[in-house]
C-alpha cells in the first residue's frame, strides 16, 4: 500500500454543452479512508466518479488517483481501480458465477486467485451462483456488482450510488461489507443520495449543483450547524408547519419523521427565548398540544441548510 493520497482532486471542472456539471471540485482522500460523496441525483456525483476512474476527461483541473494522473496514466490506473457504476451494470442473462468469471478474465485473473479478497461477499452470494444475475434481488445484485469490482484485487474502490433503490436492511449489510474492506486497508470512495449513510464514512463531502458544499467528518458536520435548531411535535403536522413558517424569525421549517425541525434565523438567540416566543405564536394560531425541544443537527439538517444557502447565493 503506497503512502500517496488515494485521491487528490484539484479544481475539477466538467461542462456538458452550456451546463457545468462540476464547478471547481477539490478534495482528497487519505490512504485507507472510507470517503463519502453525499448528494441527490443531478448533483454531479457520477460525472466526478467518471473523471476519477478515467472514463471522462475534465475540462479543467487535475486529478490523481494512487498518485497517478487520471488523464495521462490511464492504462496504469485501469488495472488498479475497482469501479461500480451507478446503474446495475452486469449481464442479466449470465449467471452469478459467469458474471464474476467474466470480469475476472477481463482483468487477466481467475475467481480462484481472487477468492480471499471477495470471501466476505462471496459467502453471501455463493448459494445463488447458478442463478441468472437478472433474477437476483436488488440487494444481491449490488453485492454481485461489488464482487465484480473487487475480483481483480484493486488498490482503490469507487462505488457510485451502490445502495440506491435497495431496501434499508440490504443497505445496512452493504455498508457492513464496506466497513470490513476499509478495515483491511482498502481506500473506498462511495457516493449516495441517502443522508443517513454519511455516518458510516470516515469523512464526507456534501455535494449539490456540481459543488462540494462542505467536507468534514460526519459528526463534525452536524456540530457545525450555525443556528439554533428545535424539534417541534404536534398532532396537526400540516397546520403546525404553516404556523411555524409564518413565525417572523423562522429560517427553515421542515418535516423530519414524526417531528418538524425548526431553525431560527437569529444566530445568537437563546433556546428558552425561542421556545417561549414560538409557543405563544402557535397558540395564537389556534394549535394546542405542541411540544418542542432543542436538538443536535443531523447531516440532513446540515445538507438542507447549506443547500439553501447555496441556492440563495
Amino acid at each position: 500500500m503506497s503512502d500517496d493520497p488515494a485521491v487528490e482532486a484539484q479544481g475539477l471542472v466538467r461542462r456538458f454543452g452550456d451546463d457545468a456539471a462540476l464547478h471547481e471540485v477539490s478534495f482528497d482522500v487519505a490512504p485507507g479512508e472510507l470517503y463519502g460523496i453525499i448528494g441527490p441525483d443531478g448533483a454531479g456525483k457520477t460525472t466526478l466518479f467518471r473523471i476519477l476512474v478515467t472514463l471522462l476527461l475534465p475540462d479543467a483541473g487535475t486529478a490523481r488517483v494512487l498518485g497517478r494522473d487520471v488523464v495521462k496514466d490511464l492504462w496504469n490506473l485501469r488495472s488498479r481501480i475497482g469501479y461500480m457504476p451507478g446503474r446495475f451494470s452486469l449481464y442479466p442473462d449470465l449467471s452469478v458465477a459467469e458474471n464474476l468469471g467474466f470480469f475476472a478474465a477481463l482483468f487477466d485473473t481467475t475467481i480462484a486467485e481472487a477468492r480471499e479478497t471477495i470471501a466476505p461477499i462471496w459467502v453471501q452470494l455463493e448459494q445463488f451462483a447458478a442463478r441468472r444475475a437478472g433474477a437476483l434481488s436488488g440487494g444481491m445484485k449490488q453485492k454481485l456488482a461489488l464482487c465484480c469490482a473487487l475480483v481483480h484485487r484493486p488498490e482503490i474502490l469507487f462505488l457510485d450510488e451502490p445502495t440506491t433503490g435497495v431496501d434499508a436492511v440490504s443497505r445496512k449489510e452493504f455498508w457492513d461489507l464496506l466497513a470490513r474492506l476499509r478495515d483491511e486497508g482498502l481506500p473506498i470512495v462511495v457516493s449516495t443520495p441517502y443522508m443517513d449513510e454519511a455516518i458510516r464514512c470516515d469523512r464526507v463531502s456534501l455535494m449539490q449543483g456540481g459543488r462540494l458544499l462542505v467536507t468534514d467528518r460526519p459528526a463534525e458536520i452536524g456540530r457545525g450547524y450555525p443556528r439554533p435548531l428545535l424539534a417541534v411535535r404536534g398532532s396537526n403536522i400540516l397546520g403546525l408547519l404553516g404556523a411555524l413558517r409564518g413565525f417572523p424569525h423562522a429560517a427553515a421549517v421542515w418535516p423530519f419523521g414524526e417531528a418538524l425541525h425548526y431553525t431560527d434565523a437569529r444566530r445568537d438567540a437563546q433556546v428558552e427565548q425561542i421556545t417561549r416566543e414560538l409557543a405563544a405564536h402557535v397558540q395564537s394560531a389556534g394549535l394546542s398540544g405542541v411540544s418542542m425541544s432543542p436538538i443536535a443537527a443531523s447531516i440532513e439538517d446540515a445538507f438542507m441548510w447549506y443547500m439553501a444557502q447555496e441556492q440563495a447565493a
Partner: protein
C-alpha cells in the same frame, strides 16, 4: 489472452441464452431459401397453351405431342382458326397460343418457310419472355428434327442460356441469398451486441478495465463469425436439398471467400455501433443502411445492367456486389481464384478500410 477467451465465452453464452433470437437466426437462412425458391422464383411451369392447327397432319401432331410432353406446358385446346383466342387470353384460360399455318407437312417437305406465330400473355414481361423462350425452344428443335438435312448450309441463329441452360431461377438466387443472410447475421448482430453494452451501461465496466477497445471488439465478434459460417452452410444445404442447386466450384474457396465477407460485414456492424447510441438506432441503421443496398444494389434482385447509371456507380461501393459476383462465379460457373482475384482484392481492401475506420471510432473513454 484470458480476457479474449472470456469474451468469446461470454458472447457465446449471450447467444445461446437468447433462445428466441438464436432460433430466428438459424431459421432465417432456411426460410429465405424456401421463400425465394418457391414464392419468388421466376421460372414458369404448367403454362396453359392453345394450338391453332388448321390442317392437322403427322408433323403438327408430332409438335403437339412434344409440347404436351414438356412439364412446362399443357395444351388446353386445339382449334382450326385463331378466332376465339382473345377472350381466352383475357379470361386467363390460356397464357400462350401457337398458331400454325395450313399444310405444315407439305411445306416442310418442300423446304418452304414456315410462318409460325407464337402469341404470349405479356402482362408480366418477365414471365412472358421466359414463356416465349420455352416455346421457341421446343418449336425450333422440332423444326430441326423434321427438316431433312439438305447439305445446303443453313445459318441458324439461336440463343442458348449458358451456365443455366434450363433457366432455373433457383440457381440464381442462392448466391444472392448467401450475401444477404451474411450481411444480416454478421453486421446486424454485431451492431446490436455492441450498442447493447452501451445502452445497458456494461460498456462502462468494460472501458475501466485494462483491456484495449480493439480487443473488446475482437472478442465480441468471434461467435458471430462462427454463426456466419453456419448460416452459409445452412443456405447451401437447404438449396441443395430442396431445389437441387449444385455447387460447381470449390467449397473450400467458397467458405474462404465467405469468411472474408463475414469480416467485412462485422466491420460494417462495428462502424455502425460506434455511431449509434443505442440498440434501436443501431438496428435501424443496419437495416436501412445495409439491407436495402444488399438487396437492390448488389445485382441480387435487379440485374445491375438494368439500373440507372448513377446507381450502377453507387453499386461499386456496396461490398455485397463484389461478394455476389464471387459466389456466382464459384457456384454457377465453377470459377476459381484465377478469375475472381480482382473481386477478392477489392473486397479485402474494403474490409481493411472498414476495420480501420471501426477501430478508430472505438472510444477509450465515455462522452
Amino acid at each position: 489472452m484470458r480476457a479474449f477467451v472470456g469474451f468469446v465465452r461470454k458472447e457465446t453464452l449471450h447467444l445461446l441464452r437468447d433462445r428466441q433470437t438464436l432460433a430466428i437466426l438459424l431459421l432465417f437462412p432456411v426460410v429465405q431459401v424456401l421463400i425465394f425458391g418457391f414464392a419468388v422464383r421466376t421460372d414458369v411451369r404448367d403454362i396453359a397453351i392453345a394450338i391453332v392447327d388448321p390442317t392437322p397432319d403427322v408433323a403438327t401432331l408430332e409438335l403437339r405431342e412434344r409440347i404436351d410432353a414438356s412439364d412446362r406446358f399443357h395444351i388446353v385446346g386445339v382449334a382450326p382458326s385463331a378466332r376465339g383466342l382473345d377472350p381466352q387470353f383475357r379470361g386467363g384460360a390460356i397464357r400462350q397460343a401457337l398458331v400454325l399455318p395450313a399444310g405444315v407437312e407439305r411445306r416442310l417437305g418442300r423446304g418452304d418457310s414456315l410462318p409460325v406465330q407464337l402469341l404470349t400473355d405479356g402482362s408480366d414481361p418477365n414471365t412472358g419472355g421466359i414463356m416465349q423462350g420455352y416455346a421457341t425452344a421446343i418449336v425450333e428443335r422440332w423444326y430441326r428434327d423434321a427438316v431433312p438435312a439438305t447439305g445446303a448450309l443453313r445459318i441458324e441463329a439461336r440463343a442458348r442460356m449458358r451456365y443455366n441452360p434450363t433457366l432455373e431461377s433457383s440457381h440464381l438466387f442462392v448466391p444472392g441469398l448467401v450475401a444477404f443472410v451474411l450481411t444480416i447475421v454478421s453486421a446486424l448482430m454485431t451492431a446490436i451486441s455492441i450498442s447493447r453494452e452501451k445502452e445497458t451501461g456494461t460498456m462502462e465496466m468494460l472501458l475501466v478495465s485494462p483491456i484495449r477497445p480493439t480487443a473488446i471488439v475482437a472478442g465480441k465478434v468471434m461467435p458471430y463469425i462462427g454463426l456466419g459460417f453456419v448460416s452459409v452452410l445452412l443456405v447451401l444445404v437447404a438449396a441443395r436439398a430442396v431445389f437441387g442447386v449444385p455447387l460447381r466450384g470449390s467449397l473450400v474457396l467458397l467458405l474462404a471467400e465467405s469468411g472474408l465477407y463475414i469480416v467485412t460485414a462485422l466491420a460494417l456492424g462495428i462502424v455502425i455501433s460506434t455511431k449509434a447510441p443505442n440498440q434501436r438506432t443501431a438496428m435501424i441503421a443496419a437495416l436501412a443502411g445495409l439491407m436495402m443496398p444488399t438487396l437492390l444494389l448488389s445485382g441480387f434482385i435487379f440485374p445491375l445492367d438494368s439500373l440507372p447509371r448513377v446507381l450502377q456507380y453507387l453499386s461499386y461501393a456496396v461490398p455485397a456486389r463484389w461478394f455476389l459476383t464471387i459466389v456466382r462465379g464459384i457456384m454457377i460457373k465453377g470459377a476459381g481464384l484465377a478469375t475472381l482475384w480482382q473481386e477478392t482484392l477489392i473486397l479485402m481492401g474494403m474490409t481493411l478500410f472498414l476495420l480501420a475506420k471501426g477501430s478508430r471510432g472505438l472510444a477509450i473513454r465515455l462522452g
